[in-house]
Symmetry: D2
Subunit: 366 residues, 4 copies
């Protein structure tokens, strides 16, 4: 209700601020019997972690996930999986000057108005640190999806005006992590990195776009009305900090086209399932997966915290000069890749479990 | 769970297919004491109804909302409001040829795979007729929001390649309904209408974009993590048939910009609330309303049902020729305007009720 | 949220007051492919209906269930099942004198305080008529449970001080409906009927106890912590009008006993499942079904509306004389039998669907 | 969904097994601005803790609640409150012999069947240790209720056949904690203690009844249909380990009475609110609080783990001799008192927050 829970059957509830002792969460609904590959989880956490390259913030976060329940002898037991990620390297003093000031385009002012009692250190609940809990839960969701052969892969498609002119199906996504900007096209990657470094040199920040593809999704996932597959994906993505837009398949460019250009005609039948000649719809029809790859784009605005000076507002309504004293990313998009994947994996795992009750199984009906 | 419910406190649950006796729903959480303006509700329903102009389908739908509970002597009683909208003018024979065939880019195939037992008449639950229930509930949500002075207004910003180059704040939104395409700029409206008529002449369809603005929202609505205001709006919009994209504030174009260009600096203080010089963020910071107008765009693909012949797939996997026999819109975007408004109103009403428990009120704490 | 929904996967949401045009509801989560036996549903509704015998109220209620969605050619389609039960024979004039008065032990006063705007005719949402929607949904749940061989059977165990000294396992429950009081022991039934008639002669009412048994429940239904099987059953039963107590297995008498007397020792193994020698626990251990019959008792207070005169309170705080002008039951317990069964069936169906995701199935784990 | 969450607005989600590193939970919905009295919370935890007297188990549990989020400078911030309670003094070896055996009347067998992968140490999720998280959350709920003057007080009313023949209104509940059995009547308390010691001497266990009263509840809490106040209380209580029965007001004895005996007639008007002469209903009418004290009884069966030898079942279906090697309570009822209070406080806090949206406030309606 209070918006700290995501999902209905496979479900994550999180807690924690960047400057408390720990963040963490509870994963419910993970069926018993899943082998928990700790190395994989650690790898996923490392992909999100700040300080992983010269184009990300040099702030260090301890991102070790301490599971405290629901796993016994390396296998899930079916009961809730509680986990903690300790906060280390907290430099609250970086934020002391913000106790009485609102930064522009931050949640400082809205929080103060909403709750009347704000933890001013590091953005509180609005800190991007909260996404670490999503990545931990997403890693578990990925392990569950792996059982069914479903994969979730995201990559950076755009940084500022540097745009990769190819979609997932023209790229080798195994190359995504081969460079620090997480763009699977090496040439474009180098341009992106250059652009981020230029922007950082100015004390400024820059936005971008992440594309994500969910492959090998069985036909029939997604609910027909309010919980269409794209609606849940959109909810998930727009709940990530700094996200301003979401589109599935042809997205906004679909608005420019005619029906005869956009309809995905059926082609061959593969293992009893019809395959479409095109995939403008992005793998869903009527909100339900049709067996084609599900792909979508997520737009991130540039980080609001700049290293250059900018005016803020004091609580008493006066303009104050603010310079960022913390350590912040010039571009969050490379680090957003595992977060987008995590949320997509959680949505897919949830719909997968829900689909177990779509119909009376053959053996049941007399 | 099964995705027929939207909202947590102000909540809509719907049922119904286009070719059953009725569609309808239950509205929960509307506080007691709200005067129900039936004329207003009727007007809203008329705005969504097919057959309202020469550029919409000539299919007639009876869109009278029959409230069967929760209202006594014209005022809400606080208990659930059940309502029905009878289906009339059903021409099931228009769909008989579809019993054994899947239309391209429709939910026919995905439904059959998901449920194994499909009502092939008119798209079943995936029919756009389902949105009538949303408009009915949205009308009630609007009445509730009116109590607080909050308004929700949408208009058509794009039809195919005809794009209105202005945003809500440069337009007189009282003109939206003055033309049949619901674009408040008369010149652009005429171009849009011409374009839709051209496309219809070809037996084709065309997509577009709706912009919506929620005005006078109090500061503090929206939850900080998973239920950010834009996340709920995105969920709501992407659950509408044919929607392929959602963006708030500067949206996808924010990805192109630098932080220094995009940050909304504080300006004057109005009634104790700081106003920002710009509104790139679209009225939210950290997922929470900041008192500025909330605005967003919704992209609609062209309707998949064409009046020209196109190939479909028979259940046995053979290509079949399909021509639309029903009556369908060449462009749904004008009729989508009230649907977008309705879903935005439901989201806002829900967050308004949730915000009543943000903090201990002054009188309560000792 | 507002308490009009019961269940998580198999889920009922209801609306309606006794004196509006209709009551009804939406059943979500019923898998596609279930044959809907309309005769069975009608029979269940008849069992709850007032006016069915000389010991129940002579008020007539039309209890025909009109399904308006989710069923096609007699089979569920997997989408929400909307239904209506029209209110007929409304004699609002019977209640006019109550517009300004609160009856003792009724919801009149609490409603007025809660909502400030009350439909005074017939108890509004608190009317027992609301239970008709539960019986309709319960009938569907029973059909679903039948697929798995699960049965739900209740009977009257006590009326006032007339107590049937046997439990379900010593009785032939096929005899329950053979008399109007729904007690499967004919001798006791006659005493109960006599007692009810005596009480009615005095213008008074009398309470009682219903016992219910759920048979053939697979091992493993129920969730270990908050949603233990008995917790959900208790919630369900205590949500029925006039219910004041719930106990499972030995219930309150278990408080009198020692552990050595109460533990259910294992006996033989039947089809791989251990059977216990006794069933003091009522078929659950740790909140989870153990394969033994689940049984529980539900205590009903006497109806508060008496045919004798009793003092009420006017809105202005003065004592007023009230005599019931409506038509009311001297004892609701016989008519409560199908309601108890319906709610038990809904709980069981919900847990059955939830259990589909308890563990990774054998074929899935590598 | 998976039953680890309780409440809708004021909401607790828990995790943890008795033999993992920690148990804990997340409290959502607590409004910002509540002062958190840590001493009070510690006191509540101590009341539930094992090893507190000679009639409870001598097993030591570290019950220090470590809050890791949602509290800043001693005051709630409105965001989720995560907390941990470390497990100490784990003697897993006490349970090793249970890896291959099912204890009678325990969840061993049902767990194994449900999940196929069980943490056999100490009952896993079914361990009564889980209730520590409830007491922690309940303490916070009590602090919230205190703001409104609402109190929640429970006491032991029965141990085996030793029954206190008085109800809450004839007792001085400030005496409850003056003896180790938590019975406010000293004479009865001594008999109860003697009985528990006798039973322990036999290696046996004994059940009992807890009565709880919620005082000063405003009129209008509770929802009219599925979430009646008693239904939520019943759900809450029956989710506590070893609970077999729940009754509100006159409960099961109401089934014995006539309506004319049981109706609560109105008496004087106090501060605008009518007071009833009697309180057979236990403070609710139609599921909604009427301003009178809410009281209810909860029946606990004797603990299933005996210190005497009793037969269990091996996984291969053979009878095995079991003697308890752990440290267990001969009677849990005294320690259940704070657990009953905690769950009652959580239910009441939740309904209190929900009631904020019952009606349009005076100032809002034009």
């Amino acid at each position: 209700m209070a918006g700290n829970t995501f999902g209905s059957l496979f479900r994550l509830t999180t807690f924690g601020e960047s400057h408390g002792p720990a963040i963490g969460g509870i994963i419910e609904g993970c069926p018993a019997g899943l082998k928990v590959d700790q190395d994989f989880i650690l790898t996923e956490m490392q992909r999100r972690k700040p300080g992983q390259s010269q184009i990300t913030t040099q702030r260090k976060e301890e991102d070790f996930v301490e599971f405290v329940s629901g796993i016994f002898k390396g296998v899930t037991t079916g009961v809730p999986i509680g986990f903690l990620i300790r906060n280390a390297d907290q430099r609250s003093s970086d934020y002391e000057h913000l106790e009485e000031a609102y930064r522009p385009s931050h949640a400082d002012f809205t929080y103060d108005q909403k709750y009347g009692h704000r933890d001013h250190r590091g953005g509180g609940r609005s800190s991007a640190r909260e996404t670490a809990a999503r990545v931990a839960a997403g890693a578990l969701a990925k392990l569950l999806l792996n059982q069914k052969g479903i994969s979730v892969k995201a990559f950076v498609k755009q940084v500022g005006a540097v745009i990769l002119g190819k979609d997932h199906d023209q790229l080798d996504l195994s190359l995504t992590d081969s460079n620090i900007v997480r763009c699977p096209d090496e040439k474009t990657a180098q341009k992106m990195i250059k652009h981020i470094e230029d922007v950082r040199g100015l004390g400024d920040t820059v936005g971008g776009v992440v594309q994500c593809v969910i492959d090998n999704v069985p036909v029939g996932l997604g609910e027909p009305v309010f919980d269409k597959f794209p609606a849940l994906l959109g909810h998930a993505m727009l709940s990530i900090n700094a996200v301003k837009g979401f589109e599935i398949g042809d997205g906004f460019s679909a608005a420019l086209k005619k029906g005869s250009e956009l309809n995905d005609l059926f082609n061959e039948i593969k293992k009893g399932t019809p395959i479409t000649k095109t995939n403008h719809s992005g793998g869903v029809q009527g909100g339900i997966s049709n067996g084609m790859p599900i792909f979508f784009n997520v737009a991130f605005k540039p980080v609001s915290t700049l290293m250059m000076e900018q005016p803020g507002l004091s609580k008493s309504g006066k303009e104050v000069k603010l310079g960022a004293k913390g350590r912040h990313d010039p571009c969050v998009v490379p680090r957003a890749v595992p977060i987008v994947e995590a949320m997509a994996a959680i949505v897919t795992a949830d719909l997968l479990l829900l689909a177990n009750n779509n119909r009376i199984s053959d053996g049941q009906q007399d």
